[in-house]
């Protein structure tokens, strides 16, 4: 690995980091706009044309707010909580394959930071670390509402991680690999032989379970009980102010971005698009692939928001019922069906 390769990797890391931050920033704006449009309003439109500078104004406000650490809070953990939350949500993007290889002047550029052969497991590890930021923050606040929110987040994430993992197992049985790059390559094009290549068409039930669990893992409505305003003031971030609160809100949006990317890669063909074999310039295919992948991710982010402004919040016991009594048996059934299908029809 030469110096240029290292520099290219470094550049890629910086670009992906910046992109995920910018997307998270504009997700806050998009969320407000989508909410407004779904409710026949216009949303923020004062800062710049169509309110396009609203995220900058919000960010500036967050930075300038007074920093409050409650007297009886554990100061170290109080700061560690949001830091961990945003760190963990940022490193999730490392294993996502953003596109096919680019060839520029003899250099082959991999549009992926790390092609780990256990990419799916890495994602899972990162996702399950995510709850620690919330738990630590909620516990360190020394506030009963924060603690309740944190406990809810922890038990909800643990419950839904099981169903999520089981739905992934069925997917891995058909793909036979844990590397996200390989999974994306297997879904090349759109139609092969007599069936679609994208995994969502061979694993529809698995995808349904996965997306429901993704809603729960990112603490999005209808599973946003950890920050449920009507019951818990602000949930785990009740005591937070200034940029530490900003980090928590930010990490939620980065999580949405990452889970959109994971869903697109695992189930919706990643950077692949229909008729890609008819374009003969490989670089053009790679660039179009990146665009297509981001389009898919944006669709998922929009879907997250669309659902948030449509479906009311679950009650906590209903949430647990759905997780343990419905999704887990369903995903086990999905594994069995997939096994039978692989044994007899492949």
């Amino acid at each position: 690995m030469g110096l240029t390769d290292i520099l290219i990797k470094l550049g890629l890391i910086v670009i992906i980091f910046l992109i995920s931050l910018v997307i998270a920033m504009y997700s806050t704006y998009a969320e407000r706009k989508v909410a407004a449009f779904l409710q026949d309003r216009v949303g923020p439109d004062r800062a710049g044309p169509w309110g396009i500078l609203q995220p900058l104004a919000d960010g500036g406000k967050m930075f300038l707010k007074e920093e409050i650490i409650p007297t009886n809070a554990n100061a170290f953990l109080f700061i560690a909580g949001p830091s961990l939350a945003i760190l963990v949500s940022c490193i999730g993007t490392a294993v996502i394959p953003w596109g096919q290889q680019l060839v520029i002047g003899g250099h082959v550029i991999d549009l992926q930071v790390a092609d780990v052969n256990v990419g799916v497991l890495y994602i899972f590890g990162v996702v399950s670390l995510g709850v620690y930021g919330i738990m630590i923050g909620g516990w360190a606040s020394n506030n009963k509402y924060s603690l309740l929110g944190a406990i809810r987040a922890a038990s909800q994430n643990i419950s839904y991680e099981i169903a999520m993992g089981l739905s992934i197992i069925a997917l891995l049985m058909t793909t036979g690999t844990l590397s996200l790059r390989h999974i994306a390559e297997q879904q090349t094009g759109f139609w092969h032989g007599h069936w679609f290549t994208w995994n969502v068409f061979s694993q529809p039930l698995g995808f349904l379970i996965f997306i429901i669990c993704a809603f729960a893992e990112t603490n999005r409505s209808p599973f946003d009980l950890p920050e449920c305003e009507t019951e818990l003031v602000g949930g785990y971030h009740t005591e937070y102010s200034s940029m530490k609160l900003g980090f928590y809100l930010f990490s939620e949006y980065i999580n949405m971005f990452v889970s959109g990317a994971v869903m697109a890669t695992l189930y919706f063909g990643g950077y692949n698009f229909p008729l890609m074999h008819h374009i003969h310039s490989p670089n053009l295919v790679a660039i179009l692939g990146v665009v297509v992948l981001f389009a898919k991710i944006f669709f998922f982010i929009f879907f997250f928001m669309w659902v948030r402004w449509t479906i009311p919040r679950f009650r906590y016991d209903q949430l647990m019922d759905l997780g343990w009594k419905v999704l887990i048996p369903l995903s086990i059934a999905n594994i069995v069906i997939t096994g039978v299908w692989i044994t007899y029809f492949k």
């Binding site: 407004a36 409710q39 026949d40 309003r41 216009v42 669309w306």
Partner: protein, 165 residues
Amino acid sequence: MEPLSNKRKVIESKPLSFMERIYLPAIFKGLAITMKHFFRKPVTIRYPEEKREYSENFRGLHSLKRDEQGRERCTACGLCALSCPAEAITMISAERQKGEEHLYREEKYAAVYEINMLRCIFCGLCEEACPKEAIYLDGPHVASDYLRKDFIYGKDKLVEAPLNQ
């Protein structure tokens, strides 16, 4: 007990059917409804730039009218104060002196005319009671202020501007 009407409806709590229990059809129906609203025209009126038109019989701030020659119409008969259900109007009458014919139309006029805007309910009974067509509620909203005493509007705020100005 005898039912008062035949509209009594027994509410029964049926267990959910299978289709209802899997939630998804209802969720997709909801998503379709919200998507329909996504493409609908927003009903927002961007306030400082756009203003919503008032209805024609909107009742706002009172104004004490002048006649064609610019004289105050009010004759301080007190019917408005009498009709006011909120008792918001007080006035002190005075007799018109020689040489004041160009100021007051009648021989008696209101030297002091005060309306407490915190008491007023903008019902419009004063304008209905007025025999001289001297008071109308045709102004804008009452402006906000800090002190209660500033909400007692005197003649300086209520009387119409003179004609020649």
